[in-house]
């Protein structure tokens, strides 16, 4: 058995890969799973900052690859939850310092001890892309509901298929329900229809994500944040639970139901 390796990727940069990795990783750990997050964005490390663990780094993934420390020594334990670990990226090296076979070997070594291994990839579809994908059992493709991001996501779906890897599952991040309602933004259903892959979750735009990142306390730790709730729902789906999707701009609950009722009565 051992851990499931989940790689978080995207076509376009800046769509939320690191935010998703940190929050889904922490949500899984909050649910009692043993989780390790690996930062594969060599040269532009960020996962340590989003998780608030930047002051505790001694060794990084390149030290492991070069045999300068043991794999375990490069793992930083998060003290807020029982079993969350980070393997940081190197900041002063480039993508070629870690090869696909290195990533596979590191994951093989960690697999027996964990339930989930999450890999945060670098933007782009060059070298680092293959490295992050090499050990993946499951690929999460993050996109924003925007033309350029969806276009680049489509390219990744094609590349992943060409590599013989399983079709990615989709995460739509930074959806603004108000804009969708006004007809100013693509809705999740539009993105799904276009990409034709399975949807794993939708994360709304939420200012608290930025506040949380500034503090180094991932937004899932915030009970009431809408994005935090979305991340917890994604983690539960990964654990095999069926959690209803917040699919349309109408949202859930009584308000959403009322809105749908009014709209279906009054037409468009």
């Amino acid at each position: 058995m051992g851990a499931q390796v989940i790689t978080v990727t995207s076509g376009k940069g800046g769509v939320g890969k690191t935010t998703v990795t940190a929050n889904v990783g922490m949500a899984l750990a909050m649910a009692g799973k043993k989780v390790v997050c690996i930062d594969a964005d060599i040269g532009l490390r960020n996962l340590d900052v989003v998780l608030g663990l930047e002051n505790r780094i001694v060794y990084d993934i390149v030290h492991v690859v070069e045999g300068r420390c043991r794999t375990r020594q490069a793992l930083i334990r998060d003290k807020r939850v029982p079993d969350l670990y980070l393997m940081p990226a190197a900041q002063s090296r480039d993508k070629s310092a870690v090869k696909p076979e290195d990533m596979v070997r590191i994951c093989e070594e960690l697999r027996p001890e964990f339930d989930y291994i999450l890999i945060d990839s670098a933007a782009g579809i060059e070298e680092g892309f293959r490295t992050a994908l090499a050990p993946a059992d499951l690929i999460l493709l993050v996109t924003n509901p925007e033309v350029a991001a969806v276009r680049d996501a489509d390219r990744v779906v094609g590349l992943v298929e060409a590599m013989g890897k399983p079709t990615p599952k989709l995460i739509v991040n930074r959806l603004k329900p108000d804009m969708v309602r006004r007809g100013d933004m693509l809705d999740t259903s539009d993105v799904l229809e276009i990409l034709a892959i399975e949807l794993l979750g939708v994360i709304p735009e939420d200012e608290q994500v930025i506040v949380a990142t500034n503090r180094g306390t991932p937004v899932v730790l915030e009970e009431r944040s809408p994005a935090g709730q979305a991340f917890r729902a994604i983690a539960r789906r990964l654990m095999g639970e069926t959690v209803p999707l917040f699919l349309s701009e109408d949202g859930q609950g009584v308000l959403g139901w009322l809105r749908r009722l009014v709209r279906s009565g009054g037409g468009r």
């Binding site: 033309v147 390219r155 969708v180 007809g183 100013d184 933004m185 693509l186 276009i194 034709a196």
Partner: protein, 85 residues
């Protein structure tokens, strides 16, 4: 988008975005640019006209897709030899 735009029957930015993406992706996925499709069309016309009479102006070469499967579709109306003579 404003009420006025909506009254004027303007497509919403959401609809425009979706339509643009659909067109962009047909070409991205099939690696066929609109220009290349024109070249293919001209060559199909040239080859076929050697064997059967066709109505060149009405030939359509397009890429269609069903989920992620792309298909090159050529619609070639045949000219009627007898009615033309």
């Amino acid at each position: 988008m404003s009420w006025l735009d909506r009254l004027r029957g303007q497509p919403s930015p959401r609809e425009t975005a979706k339509q643009r993406l659909q067109v962009i992706l047909v070409h991205d996925r099939s690696d066929l640019s609109p220009g290349l499709l024109e070249v293919i069309k001209d060559e199909i016309i040239a080859v076929l006209s050697r064997h059967v009479p066709i109505i060149a102006e009405e030939v359509r070469v397009t890429v269609t897709q069903d989920a992620r499967e792309c298909r090159l579709v050529a619609d070639i109306p045949l000219g009627n030899r007898h009615s033309r003579s």
